[in-house]
């Protein structure tokens, strides 16, 4: 149990990254349309986020510098502000989707329209940010989010044809009736969702909130190597469930409820209860992660005091940023904009902005002035450089693919 509690920062970061409202729909959609033929994109993304989150956490532990601080310092004021504006915009879109996602889950449980729940959900998110200690937040939401493992049980209970799933995963091809650009558009969506920058903003700032230092490097690695692969495993389970249950029946996914369907088919009422708890915890956790990420990025760019480790009045602009973000997100969601569309766009746009975040991390992780003897090793640099190339290709291909495929239709 103690070991599990030590890695809750990684678990919460990963659940917020892999199992937020947009990813739940994206994974289920990918399964229902392409089967397991897109699993590789998600696995590639897990590798990327593991490599870069480990670096971001190590830099934060050794130098006390969270990621957005480095973005400003290494890219300069001008490129830094481009990344800031893009990140805040993407965070806002994501927060809209998370708060709407929370409300939709409550609608599924109560049958009361989700629009009515939106202000209350926004209030919940703010109260946790205002009052709850960082470590408590991370433990509660990380652990309750583990309810999502019910998806793995549901998959097991369906006795799927494992060899067929494996064959599709290992010999991917574009499924009949789908265009190649659409296939790659979804591949970018899955890769981008795994590597969303708010994960490293949150993870590295969380490391500072938790006062990590040189002696916590093992904890950093444990968080990264447990948390993100776990997030990937949850994504895999959902994708496989959609492949087994939704694809043969031709059921499309346009909202979170559809993503819960396979678990209900497999495990009945118990499955329904657990998956709703899991989805609620995951979207709530993601809402916290994204709101805090907005506070962290803006404060770190301007050098304002930030952090939940100080009283709110000592970091007033940091807290004001989050209040404004949450209010804006609730207002946008109240226009009844389709939350699923909103997240799809936010994931794809964030894929286009990836290099602006990951390049500075790689540079500083190699700077002995900051890192002393804890600079990257040769192997780490080789893998990180490979991913930087992938990220650049993805960033360049994203917008054209979005236009060509009319956003994956």
């Amino acid at each position: 149990m103690k070991r599990l509690l030590a890695v809750t920062l990684g678990i919460l970061t990963a659940i917020g990254g892999f199992m937020d409202a947009g990813d739940i729909v994206a994974n289920a959609t990918a399964g229902s349309r392409f089967g397991m033929n897109l699993l590789w994109a998600m696995v590639l993304g897990v590798g990327g986020i593991v490599v870069y989150a480990e670096m971001a956490g190590r830099v934060a532990a050794i130098s006390g510098r969270p990621t957005f601080d480095l973005v400003r310092e290494r890219l300069g004021a001008r490129m830094g502000i481009a990344n800031l504006v893009a990140s805040l915009f993407i965070n806002l879109l994501t927060l809209v989707a998370e708060i709407a996602g929370m409300a939709v889950v409550i609608q599924l449980a109560t049958d009361v329209n989700y629009l009515l729940w939106l202000p209350l959900m926004g209030l919940f998110v703010w109260i946790v940010i205002w009052r709850v200690r960082f470590s408590t937040m991370e433990t509660v939401f990380g652990l309750v989010g583990l309810t999502l493992l019910v998806m793995a049980v549901a998959l097991w209970q369906l006795h799927p044809d494992w060899s067929a799933l494996w064959h599709q995963s290992s010999h991917p091809h574009v499924t009949g009736g789908e265009g190649t650009p659409t296939y790659f558009y979804y591949a970018i969506g899955l890769f981008g969702a795994a590597m969303t920058p708010y994960e490293v903003f949150f993870f590295s700032s969380g490391a500072v909130e938790e006062h990590w230092s040189r002696k916590d490097l093992a904890e950093n690695r444990a968080n990264v190597f447990v948390g993100f692969p776990l997030g990937g495993f949850l994504s895999f389970s959902l994708m496989a469930l959609a492949t087994v249950v939704l694809q043969p029946r031709g059921i499309g996914v346009d909202q979170i409820g559809h993503a819960a369907l396979p678990t209900v088919v497999s495990l009945g009422k118990v499955g329904l209860a657990l998956i709703l708890v899991g989805f609620f915890a995951a979207t709530f956790g993601a809402a916290l992660e994204v709101s805090l990420s907005s506070g962290y990025t803006l404060s770190q760019y301007f050098g304002w005091q930030w952090g939940k480790f100080v009283r709110p009045r000592e970091a007033s602009r940091f807290h004001l940023t989050m209040v404004v973000s949450i209010v804006l997100a609730v207002l946008v969601a109240l226009t009844a904009v389709d939350p699923v569309k909103v997240t799809e766009y936010s994931i794809v746009l964030s894929a286009a902005a990836l290099p602006l975040t990951y390049f500075p991390i790689l540079v500083v992780a190699n700077d002995p002035d900051y890192m002393g003897d804890k600079v990257n090793g040769r192997f780490g640099n080789a893998v990180a450089s490979f991913y930087l190339v992938v990220i650049l290709v993805v960033a360049l291909a994203t917008i054209p693919l979005m236009i060509v495929t009319k956003a994956g239709q």
């Binding site: 502000i81 200690r133 960082f134 760019y301 301007f302 709110p312 602009r317």
Partner: protein, 132 residues
């Protein structure tokens, strides 16, 4: 950094840009958004006399259309209309942070923080309590 800058102090000044300012107690007190330079009367290279911080200073440093828009916004929002100035003689250490010798409450860079605290945050219950 280019090696053709003759004066060590100016080079240090440029190295300051975009760094976090930290006060003696570890509080974060703004970012180095711009620098105030003064020409040397003897015709030598200019000397850094102060760190400028805040949206107005940043806008000036950024330039371009975006910088002008930010500057206009800042002038509307702040009564002073002048960027916060941190005299260079309070700078104690230049490393990954810029450490100053006075507390953040005594720096001009804290005006925005103090204003938001006074006008908004202090009116919300629990603003002065540590998280539970």
């Amino acid at each position: 950094m280019s090696g053709d800058l003759p004066d060590g102090e100016l080079r240090a000044g440029l190295h300051l840009l975009d760094h976090q300012i930290v006060d003696p107690d570890g509080w974060m007190a703004g970012n180095v958004d711009d620098l105030e330079l003064e020409a040397d009367p003897d015709g030598g290279p200019p000397v850094v006399t102060a760190i400028l911080s805040g949206a107005g200073a940043l806008a000036h440093h950024l330039g371009g259309r975006f910088g002008r828009a930010l500057e206009a916004l800042d002038e509307r929002l702040t009564a002073e209309g002048v960027p916060s100035r941190v005299p260079f003689d309070v700078v104690a250490e230049i490393g990954s942070h810029v450490r100053v010798t006075v507390r953040r409450e005594e720096l001009e860079t804290n005006r925005g923080e103090a204003w938001v605290r006074r006008t908004i945050i202090d009116h919300i219950p629990g603003a002065g309590h540590a998280s539970e």
